[in-house]
């Protein structure tokens, strides 16, 4: 028994090391007082100072925040409705239709959206097209989380509300919405993290205009991996991690995504 325990722990440690050592290196070098990612020289915050003086980087960050906020707002609205509908009508094809974009290769979705925007909508690529694209792939995540929450609930609670005099709208506003709120917020946070660091779909749908954070970082490392990139990556990591932890706290089912 003890022996297998040791093996299990080692395997787990290895898996976590595999996941987190690269990330840790980025964080460590963002504080390194050297222009090269080669050896540790000393502690500095100068890369963060440089970052906040980099006008282009700040614009990219602002754009990414606008996109992430708008897309997660829209995705939460639509995804919550989808989650409610899937739960209510119990049609087999509905969940599949909503969840497909989640499982679809990003590059495929990127190409499809690009063609759709250009050839069907005649849209000039820019912030709007990115927001629509991000909303598209976030809806499924929100729907999954909201539905999982509804599945765990006693159906008679909603009937009780109607029975005690609440109209369908009042039942939604006073009972359903407050009860699924943790899942809705978790879905919004999840969407935000997915949107803010999305590269592939953003790359296809951004056009030539405004700088977007993940693309900006990519452009910078094409020249060299500077400590400034480490610094922005560390900040992005911190933001994402915080949101994921909050989301997981709100809805413990979030990490056990759809198993079916």
């Amino acid at each position: 028994m003890r022996r297998s325990n040791i093996w299990l722990w080692s395997a787990a440690a290895l898996a976590y090391a595999f996941l987190y050592i690269p990330l840790l290196i980025v964080v460590v070098y963002s504080f390194n007082d050297s222009k090269l990612n080669a050896e540790w020289v000393g502690f500095t915050l100068s890369w963060y100072v440089a970052l906040f003086n980099n006008q282009e980087m700040l614009t990219a960050a602002r754009n990414s925040l606008i996109i992430a906020v708008s897309a997660s707002f829209l995705a939460t609205l639509l995804g919550t409705m989808a989650g409610l509908a899937i739960h209510r009508y119990k049609l087999k094809f509905l969940p599949v239709l909503v969840f497909t974009p989640v499982a679809m290769p990003e590059i495929l979705l990127g190409v499809a959206l690009l063609l759709f925007f250009l050839q069907v909508l005649n849209l000039t690529l820019g912030m709007v097209s990115i927001i629509i694209a991000h909303t598209t792939f976030c809806i499924g995540f929100v729907a999954i989380i909201v539905r999982a929450r509804l599945q765990g609930m006693d159906e008679s609670i909603f009937e009780a509300a109607r029975d005690l005099g609440a109209s369908p709208w009042q039942t939604f506003r006073l009972i359903t919405l407050p009860l699924i709120m943790p899942a809705v917020v978790a879905g919004a946070l999840m969407s935000f993290t997915l949107s803010i660091d999305d590269f592939v779909i953003t790359f296809f749908t951004k056009g030539v205009g405004e700088p977007i954070l993940p693309i900006q970082i990519y452009t910078m490392i094409k020249v060299a991996v500077t400590p400034e990139v480490n610094a922005i990556s560390t900040l992005l990591m911190l933001l994402t991690l915080t949101l994921i932890i909050i989301a997981a706290k709100l809805d413990s089912g979030i990490l056990r995504r759809e198993a079916k």
């Binding site: 006693d154 008679s156 609670i157 009937e159 009780a160 509300a161 109607r162 029975d163 005690l164 005099g165 609440a166 109209s167 009042q170 006073l174 009972i175 407050p178 009860l179």
Partner: protein, 361 residues
């Protein structure tokens, strides 16, 4: 006019007829019970009364008004659900206030009515608790209070005591009877527990396969079951094949195969030559050591097959000469292992001429 009238109501789900041409009328102030095994249609009927489901045929009238187009929130009918269905994000007080708020009651009246309702169910200090902080019995009482606070014309109770343990169940039964008496609200109670139905109700409708098998007072349902299903479903009963030899105005003479002649109470629509069963309750059967002590009309010789000691009473299973088994219930009036009969003992079995029922096939 009856308060609630269920008129020829039918409800099908695909090929399955859940409720089959049921007609019941319930008077104001009544404690009415729908009793039957699971799948007998009682829940479907309840859901149609509440408005969660609609009949395929027939009508449900409240105070003479057809309820067909009226959604659940517009019906002056409230339901106590088996799972209690308390709103988990609201305090006990807010749960109870919910129907009043929906009805547009003024805030002042809401707070006084909620206080009153909490007092009535002995939860005066629990207003600020959340449902998950309550025990099963307390949740149950909150559900009753919430269902009654807005004074519905009718309160539907869907197996509300099903989730409670036996002891608490009995307490809640008494509480339920008192609540109903005090408020004068008409109760429609559904359950599959026959003892609960007998203990609580003014009248019972026994349902099976979507149909009402018998609708009567508890003592008549138990004492005079109309058919084999009712006899079997309510309480314990021993059954033997029988044929009618003589149908007199005062009694029936039956021939029980391998046993002989049995006298039983008379019954409507039974004539000479009819075949069916003789059904007799264990507590109506007496057993004794010696046949000569027996003065009752129906008496036979048998042999004790075994017994079940359950504390207050012992049930003896006795085999009769025709091979049929009959159960006899003896109260354990003296404490200790005061058993009177052992397996294998020859005994005399007897019952009064007015005990037992003949049931047609």
């Amino acid at each position: 006019m009856a308060l609630l009238e269920i008129r020829n109501v039918t409800r099908c789900f695909g090929d399955f007829t859940a409720v089959d041409n049921v007609s019941i009328s319930i008077e104001a102030g009544e404690f009415f019970t729908l009793l039957g095994p699971s799948g007998c249609g009682k829940t479907t009927l309840l859901r149609m009364i509440a408005g969660f489901d609609l009949p395929d045929a027939g009508q449900i009238l409240l105070d003479g008004k057809d309820m067909f187009g009226t959604p659940p929130e517009k019906r002056p009918i409230h339901t106590v659900f088996q799972s209690y269905a308390l709103f988990p994000h609201m305090t006990v007080a807010d749960n109870i206030a919910f129907p009043l708020k929906m009805a547009g009651t003024t805030p002042d009246e809401i707070s006084s009515r909620v206080r009153e309702a909490l007092d009535d169910v002995r939860l005066a200090n629990f207003g600020n608790r959340f449902p998950q902080e309550l025990s099963g019995g307390q949740k149950q009482r909150v559900a009753f209070a919430r269902g009654l606070v807005n004074r519905p014309r009718l309160l539907l109770l869907d197996e509300p005591l099903g989730a409670l343990d036996a002891k608490l169940r009995e307490e809640m039964q008494i509480e339920l009877i008192n609540l109903q008496k005090e408020r004068g609200v008409t109760f429609v109670f559904i359950t599959h527990a026959q003892n609960e139905a007998l203990a609580l109700s003014h009248r019972i409708a026994v349902m099976n396969q979507g149909k009402v098998e018998q609708l009567d007072e508890p003592s008549r349902i138990y004492g005079f079951p109309r058919n084999r299903f009712v006899a079997d479903f309510i309480g314990k009963i021993s059954i033997m094949n029988a044929q009618v030899l003589e149908a007199a105005p005062a009694h029936l003479k039956l021939s029980v195969a391998g046993l002989g002649e049995v006298t039983s109470p008379t019954k409507e629509n039974v004539k000479m030559g009819d075949t069916g069963v003789l059904a007799i309750r264990p507590e109506q059967v007496r057993i004794s050591h010696h046949a000569e002590e027996v003065e009752l009309k129906n008496h036979f010789i048998g042999k004790v097959q075994g017994f079940l000691y359950v504390g207050d009473v012992t049930t003896y299973i006795v085999e009769l000469p025709n091979g049929a088994r009959i159960e006899a219930l003896l109260p354990n009036s003296a404490p200790g292992r005061a058993k009177f009969f052992e397996a294998g003992d020859p005994v005399a079995v007897s019952w009064r001429h007015d005990a037992g029922t003949f049931l047609n096939d």
